[in-house]
Subunit: 766 residues, 2 copies
């Protein structure tokens, strides 16, 4: 009841006061979110409409086609991970599923495009938009806010508005007068499409306003089953399809004219259209619900979430849902800071998504239908990225969702014939991207930081099964030799370092639940990083199966030196579980901090940069690569070397230069919120350098004050005394009055709420 009142108050305040509400508990935080940040170049986020963690992420696709008409690869797959690039001149249409910020692409399911005039069922090209159904558009008519997207489709004079619920995309198209208006549903469209990706697609016109169907695709998700139910606000006049797949056996379906007003359409290259007559300014609304289970599931979702045609209501509800989540952290900061802060927070609440129907049914990685028993099933786990800061952030401010995500991971493990926790999983599939078994630190960190609602023994079993897996990631070699040799895997050194860290978190989890033997085993395994530390060079190197160091060895090179998405200069610092041990190996505090200084100040020559993935030049500071994840903890390492002011300088620098309020304001892939989660933590003045340790490292806060909502209605207030632009240096930190002496903040100390007080100054405290 209380909650209901809050909702009403908020809606009223938004309606009455627009974006000018005063800062209080119900300030409209969504006004600070700019979904267009990161839509140009490397950010790979989408500008469209979604609700927090919603399965439907309805967004314009400006291009997606990796192959030209001659079947030649055009290299655009990577550009279109989120379907949208800010500089593109045309919109192909609006599809319902997207990744947020990834470095690989898929999804883009169920593209809808409204048009008028001659019916065109191919998308055409950006050069010649009139060659297909796509349309020109301008950023001048484009508006993107949380849960709502609006643009004018210039070629058709159609005003397109999008909003969303968890499983429902809601389209509102304002047409000109036309006897020839169309809404196209192109079932061949997809992100990272290739000829043959659609294994099957099916459409049933149930009546003159309801259409159901599904498609099965084989892409990055090797077997993606997605069903839909689409409802029009106005009866369909005529409808039809083209099925351009020539190979498929037609059987006695050839008796029918399946292309015109025939209610059952099936095939592998199906493009459907629904035709209307419209008056000037007439709105046609389309509700589009999805399910991984069945069309019946999609209908259930639709009925539960959007049982009406009130577009404004769904738009307002979406905005409220965002407000409700964004209120998890309220800050006192400049409006500019609020934009980057709340846009970042927005990005941390997009992936993973609730991958289950309202009745709890979802499709497992065993391709079977399961019912989530007592949890919400989530999907899209980009774990190599997100174990670092996104999941620790969710553990802090989204404890229920974290518990649900862990139960989702354990269900994945139970369904895995390989006995693996998720590595990089999405939409009922394991796609095996990147390295490590980083579900393990997520689980361990969550348990250690007080998340409950899952069986820790089951979780430990799953972690051990993943960490001893005979199929995956050369773990057999790792267990035999203590490292993964570069001659069996070209990224073996990265694997070794990450396995050693993951192993350390297994030890922490085991210790926490009293399994000392297991803890000991994995504590030992966590020292494996030492096997690849080359005392002669002072870098982590690469060894072959015989134990010989790789020579020659280039610590600046990202490829073929044993690493992935990072060179030895960066990766040599990846020992978060034993930074003290690493510093010792590297020659003590001074030599170590000199090493860090060099990293931040050296110039990465162009030939090396060309080989660095997923980032822009803006994502570099010297050879430090913020646009990729392996370095995300690095700026905090000065703390361990006795030079915390250097951490404070670098954090301040990164926060202020690498998160900007412009379309290309992200210097690398947002990676399902990891880049943004780094920003949130670092803005608040602390960061989980080593998830599983129960500790955060102190950085340099860039907000004046912040209130973080914690479990059980507790609140942590972060106060920054002597807050000023130049006061970037921490003079003291107190948690509930107790002064921190080692720049380490215990999670257990803040979990009960209270005050975290930074005292800042313009000079380093040495």
């Amino acid at each position: 009841m209380f909650r209901k009142i809050i909702i009403t108050l908020f809606v009223v305040s938004v309606l009455l006061t627009g974006t000018s509400v005063a800062q209080n508990a119900t300030e409209d935080l969504t006004q600070y979110v700019n979904p267009l940040i990161g839509t140009q170049e490397m950010g790979h986020v989408f500008p469209g409409a979604c609700v927090p963690f919603g399965m439907v992420q309805l967004s314009p696709d400006t291009d997606t086609i990796p192959y030209d008409v001659d079947g030649k690869y055009t290299g655009t797959v990577y550009r279109y991970c989120a379907g949208y690039q800010y500089n593109d001149p045309t919109i192909v249409g609006f599809s319902h599923t997207h990744f947020s910020g990834t470095g690989h692409s898929d999804l883009g399911d169920f593209l809808i495009m409204p048009t008028v005039g001659d019916l065109k069922l191919n998308p055409g090209t950006a050069d010649q938009p009139e060659s297909g159904y796509r349309s020109r558009f301008s950023h001048e008519t484009e508006k993107a806010v949380p849960g709502y997207y609006n643009v004018k489709l210039e070629d058709y004079d159609i005003d397109a508005e999008l909003t969303a619920a968890e499983h429902v995309g809601f389209h509102q198209y304002t047409f000109p007068e036309s006897d020839d208006a169309h809404i196209i549903l192109d079932l061949t469209h997809g992100i990272y499409n290739y000829d043959g990706k659609v294994l099957w697609s099916q459409v049933w016109v149930q009546n003159d306003t309801l259409v159901t169907g599904y498609r099965i695709t084989s892409g990055w998700a090797r077997t993606n089953y997605l069903y839909f139910a689409m409802v029009f606000s106005k009866p369909i006049e005529n409808y039809g399809c083209k099925n351009e797949h020539s190979q498929v056996y037609k059987g006695f379906w050839r008796k029918f004219d399946q292309e015109n007003n025939f209610p059952e359409m099936g095939g592998r290259k199906l493009k459907t259209h629904f035709d209307f007559k419209t008056k000037e300014g007439e709105k046609i609304k389309v509700k589009f619900a999805i399910s991984a289970v069945s069309t019946e599931g999609a209908l259930k979702n639709l009925k539960a979430e959007v049982p009406h045609f009130d577009f404004k209501k769904v738009k307002q509800e979406a905005r409220y849902k965002w407000q409700n989540e964004l209120e998890k952290i309220t800050i006192d900061a400049s409006p500019e800071k609020k934009v980057t802060f709340y846009t970042s927070l927005y990005h941390t609440f997009i992936n993973p998504v609730e991958y289950m129907d309202v009745d709890g049914q979802y499709r497992g990685i065993d391709h079977q239908i399961h019912k989530a028993d007592g949890f919400v099933n989530y999907s899209i786990f980009s774990l190599w990225d997100t174990y670092r800061a996104l999941h620790p952030l969710l553990t802090l401010i989204q404890p229920k969702r974290t518990s649900d995500m862990i139960n989702s991971m354990l269900a994945h493990y139970d369904q895995s014939v390989l006995g693996m926790l998720p590595v990089w999983s999405h939409f009922g599939n394991e796609n095996w991207c990147m390295i490590g078994y980083h579900a393990v630190p997520v689980i361990a960190d969550a348990w250690i930081n007080g998340i409950r609602g899952f069986d820790p023994q089951h979780a430990l079993d799953a972690c051990i099964s993943s960490a001893t897996n005979k199929y995956y990631g050369n773990i057999t070699d790792y267990m035999k030799l203590g490292y993964v040799p570069y001659d069996v895997n070209a990224t073996g050194s990265s694997m070794t370092l990450e396995y050693a860290y993951d192993d350390w978190t297994i030890a922490q989890l085991a210790k926490a639940i009293g399994k000392e033997d297991i803890a000991k085993t994995y504590e030992e395994r966590s020292q494996n990083w030492k096997k690849l530390f080359n005392d002669k060079t002072g870098f982590i190197g690469a060894k072959d199966s015989e134990g010989n160091w790789k020579t020659p060895f280039d610590p600046l090179q990202t490829h073929d030196e044993g690493f992935i998405e990072g060179n030895s200069w960066n990766y040599s610092l990846y020992v978060p579980q034993d930074i003290t041990g690493l510093i010792k190996k590297m020659g003590g505090n001074d030599r170590f901090s000199n090493h860090l200084d060099s990293l931040f100040s050296m110039y990465l020559p162009d030939e090396y940069f060309a080989e660095t993935e997923d980032i822009t030049r803006d994502g570099l500071i010297g050879c430090y690569v913020h646009g990729n994840e392996p370095s995300h903890h690095v700026a905090y390492m000065y703390n361990w070397a006795g030079k915390p002011w250097k951490t404070q300088e670098r954090i301040h620098q990164i926060v202020n230069t690498m998160y900007l309020n412009k379309p290309d304001g992200l210097c690398g892939n947002d990676d399902c919120g990891q880049m943004s989660a780094w920003y949130i933590f670092s803005s608040l003045g602390f960061y989980p350098v080593c998830p599983g340790s129960g500790q955060y490292a102190i950085g340099s806060p860039s907000v004046q004050e912040a209130t973080i909502k914690l479990p059980e209605n507790k609140e942590l207030v972060v106060k920054v005394e002597n807050y000023a632009e130049k006061n970037i240096y921490v003079q003291s930190v107190k948690i509930n009055g107790k002064e921190l002496t080692d720049y380490a903040l215990e999670h257990s100390d803040l979990l009960g709420g209270g005050e975290l007080v930074f005292k800042m100054g313009k000079k380093p405290k040495k």
Copy 2:
């Protein structure tokens, strides 16, 4: 309890006395069934193992591939409707799903083949069996009895035995000594395969004896989802696969060596192998359960039906299940007659199949999972064939199954976006083969003959929706013009005749439930045959949309004269609902019976025969085509023309010449039991000339005595007095003492059981 005792007694009697048990209630009737009858040429039945109406029909495939290596169509699709041709020299393997006697092909799912020696994963060719995994075989080592099939695979010295439960194929292979024994599961194999038929296939090796998986195919069934669970009696030593599909996107699955001992295999051209070491004479057993729902469904089916590895037990149970069904009719006749009779009865109990899991779940034609509520869901409805005699036979002796089949048809209708009852449906799909809406007469006949357990109003609605359907079969033209013009559909005249009959049955159903208005409408529609009766020629002709007769018109020609699977000579007699009216149109009794005489005595020139489908020359008597269904009632029509002795002669002739105890003993496709059902009825002395009329026409019995088990433990005893080879003429017929005067037997008179007594003589009773 009583039933249990009977089972035990039967099993004991089979064990102790083999096939020599005396004739009594527990005589072993399975001894008379020869599954090899009809496996050569046109019969299109399979010789393998199944239980009555079982979903698994596990049988050897001797070839199936319609395209040669250059992709050229070889024309063998039709030959291999059941996967097996008696004269073939090799066996490709044993697959789990088959049609019985159809004229189109599909299925052949999940081919298993045991081999020894070098691993070969392609089937090879019949010319050069050593080029692949197939093996030579000989009929000398081949044994086929109900529920059991046995053959020696000569190339490998492997003795192969097959038996089955409803959802489980049970293989027992006796190997020679080998370090290199294999069991191949070829997921690319299928009947009517084409490149691209397999949309997706998936295999999970769950442990060293359990393998699960599925495939989705797009063939005659446009979207066929079939799941499996396979259990070996011996742990797998090694396993692997080849996936020859080059197009599919591989993603990060390429990290794994998926071809060797990798437990998750997926792709579009997947061939898997499981390797063993065997001792001389060692048996490896394979239990293979299927489900249209999920691998979990397959496992449930396996657990419920075959929770052990006792091959002999399953084989005996299968035989008992057959005995139990065959006992529905016991006859006194010569052993030769018993062979053709019980083989025919066997053929009538194969299709349709129980298409649902043990928990009631099945896949509907809307591709969704449904739970059958209070009925068993059946599939494989070859209705153009089977509405004539198979369903009337099942209505008589399988009332519960008939009720279930009708509920299955109504569920199909409920799921049909077109609002159609099944036309020719199989495995969760409508394949739209042939013409008519012949679910209608099945439903009407069943209701009129006392079958209950379904909602007659719902059934009537479904019949009317089908009969007024705007999408299907030019019904719109039919409703407008009273006939289907040949210029809009080349088979319009056949359609018109069959629609008119189907309409008549709607009228009967409507009348029976008190819907007189509807009855009147459809009574009128049932006279539409007259619109195509050409008084000038005395034949049913073809009209164009303007009402002009097609000229020239050749009543001997099967193609392009308005008909399908029959010429005008045969089809002109297709007015079962108004034979009296037809006789009048054709000039009275004498001219009509002369017409029939001509039909049976004329010679069909070779050029016409060449165009006649689905039959052998043996299937002709003059121009009468017994191998196709439109004539199945024709021999009985003499009764209406006052010359019943001519019916008796022709029935006697057909019964004795067209059902022979040899591999090519069927003169045409058995068509899911329709040909065989004709034989059963005709052998018993009566036949449902017009299902829905509640009447049978009297023919000439060819058994000496028969006992037919009826609902509610009633029995009808057919007694034939003066039974002798030459006494083919009926002198009198009495039902429970009441003499029949018009050669018409009321179903209501026999439903209560009692005696049907034929008195025979060597001379016609004129």
